[in-house]
């Protein structure tokens, strides 16, 4: 059932390539802006590179959250999913994972190149990929609650950011500090473990909360 849902989601988003490219392009443009706005000096850039990539990744995910349930809400299929015999929590989990596959994963795969362009040391690349991969999945998970709460609103974008941004902060702190630690040759396993723990905790709790929030939004 999850695989069926995943296939549907991937097929749908593959047909709408603009939505697929949007967060990636935003990510790219943010990374380009920082050397131009702050400094092109590679010594200074390499110090702030982990934080920049992480903040850019957070904001790009935030940008893409609004579309997670929007289309299904507007054409009514979301209501059918909640009414279906299959547990709605499973379908919601599949939708969240699909959202990550379409936004977080490509972003993670592109991030090493952008990080290297910001003069981040090569030894930090593994830490960057693992932490950003887990981190964007956690963003998709926690963000799905905000997306579910605001799906019924015409202009939910700003409210969505306000709702989920505070909950993103701990992930940003641990994720970015893991990469910084790796870049400066310190052990980074502890920070990575925190990101992983938050991710698993969210995976265990979020589908139920998101389903509850979707039911509230759909009942409008």
């Amino acid at each position: 059932m999850i695989t069926g849902m995943l296939k549907r989601e991937i097929k749908l988003s593959y047909r709408r390539k603009a939505d697929l490219a949007n967060p990636l392009l935003f990510f790219l443009m943010m990374i380009v802006l920082f050397p131009l706005g702050v400094t092109p000096n590679t010594d200074k850039l390499s110090v702030i590179a982990p934080g920049l990539v992480w903040v850019a990744g957070l904001l790009s995910t935030l940008l893409s959250l609004d579309m997670m349930f929007r289309d299904d809400y507007e054409d009514g299929s979301l209501e059918q999913m909640l009414l279906a015999a299959a547990p709605a929590e499973m379908l919601v989990t599949a939708k969240i994972i699909a959202h990550w596959l379409m936004t977080g994963l490509p972003l993670t795969l592109v991030s090493p190149f952008l990080a290297l362009s910001l003069a981040m040391p090569e030894r930090a690349i593994p830490a960057l990929i693992i932490s950003l991969g887990l981190g964007t999945l956690t963003f998709s998970l926690i963000g799905s609650v905000g997306a579910a709460l605001t799906v019924g609103l015409r202009k939910g974008g700003l409210l969505l950011s306000l709702l989920v941004m505070p909950l993103f902060i701990p992930i940003l702190i641990f994720g970015a500090s893991a990469v910084t630690a790796a870049a400066t040759e310190f052990p980074y396993q502890a920070q990575l473990a925190y990101v992983g723990a938050i991710c698993l905790g969210a995976l265990a709790i979020v589908p139920w909360i998101t389903t509850m929030a979707l039911k509230v939004s759909v009942s409008e």
Partner: protein, 249 residues
């Protein structure tokens, strides 16, 4: 006991009972807050390290303390609302949000005033301060939900979902000073242990904390009554009440 508790879930009974309750809570808060302020600012001994600048503790600690309790209270009210379908409990969560938000901001302001002379800076990015900042942002989120979502029932439920999710942050705030090496000091008062300060200091502090709670109780009942009248404006007893009030003047 339980029937008494259940009665608060009835709008009419809430409206009738909250009047004497808010009066006594208001009176109590005036007494405790004035005793606490005078005792704390004028009679409590000064600190051997911080001198008189520590006296802002009598506002800072109660404000930070009660801002967190209000958040937890809102989450409990949200759970009660979901489990027992009590709309009054959602309503109280709504009226509590701006109070808790203001108190958290008050804790920031007093903290900055306190930090400037003692830490040498009004603001640091330390774990306690960031986690309280997260709580303030969550408060803003809850308040924003009520502004943006027009349907009252849906706004109540959406705000409750966000509040419940955000309670993850509360233990982080509490233990941030123990888990991480922060500039913010660990708490000087604990419920289970003897306070790390002499009684001349902590008795006025406790009076202030109780004063803040009485004041919050008073304020939330007054706000709750106003909110209730607006929500139940179509109910017969509200119309009778308004008619009775209009005849009085």
């Amino acid at each position: 006991m339980w029937t008494w508790f259940h009665k608060w879930g009835s709008p009419k009974w809430f409206y009738d009972m909250s009047k004497p309750w808010s009066f006594w809570l208001g009176l109590l808060s005036i007494i405790t807050l004035s005793v606490g302020v005078v005792w704390g600012l004028a009679f409590a001994p000064s600190d051997y390290q911080m001198g008189n600048s520590y006296r802002i503790i009598f506002v800072h600690v109660p404000a930070a303390f009660s801002a967190q309790s209000i958040y937890m209270g809102m989450a409990v009210l949200g759970i009660i609302g979901f489990v027992w379908k009590m709309k009054m409990s959602f309503m109280m969560a709504k009226v509590l949000a701006p109070i808790g938000c203001s108190l958290a901001i008050l804790a920031f302001i007093t903290g900055a005033i306190w930090g400037a002379p003692t830490w040498g800076t009004p603001w640091v990015w330390d774990a306690r301060i960031i986690s309280v900042l997260v709580m303030v942002l969550l408060y803003f989120g809850v308040i924003a939900i009520h502004y943006v979502i027009d349907n009252q029932t849906n706004a109540d439920k959406a705000a409750a979902v966000l509040t419940i999710l955000g309670t993850i942050n509360i233990p982080i705030i509490k233990y941030s000073v123990e888990w991480w090496n922060t500039l913010h000091q660990p708490s000087s008062i604990k419920l289970t242990e003897k306070p790390a300060m002499p009684p001349e200091m902590f008795i006025p502090l406790f009076i202030m904390i109780f004063g803040f709670y009485f004041f919050i109780g008073y304020l939330s009942l007054v706000r709750g009554r106003a909110e209730l009248l607006e929500r139940e404006r179509r109910a017969g007893w509200v119309k009778d009440e308004i008619k009775a009030q209009a005849e009085k003047y």
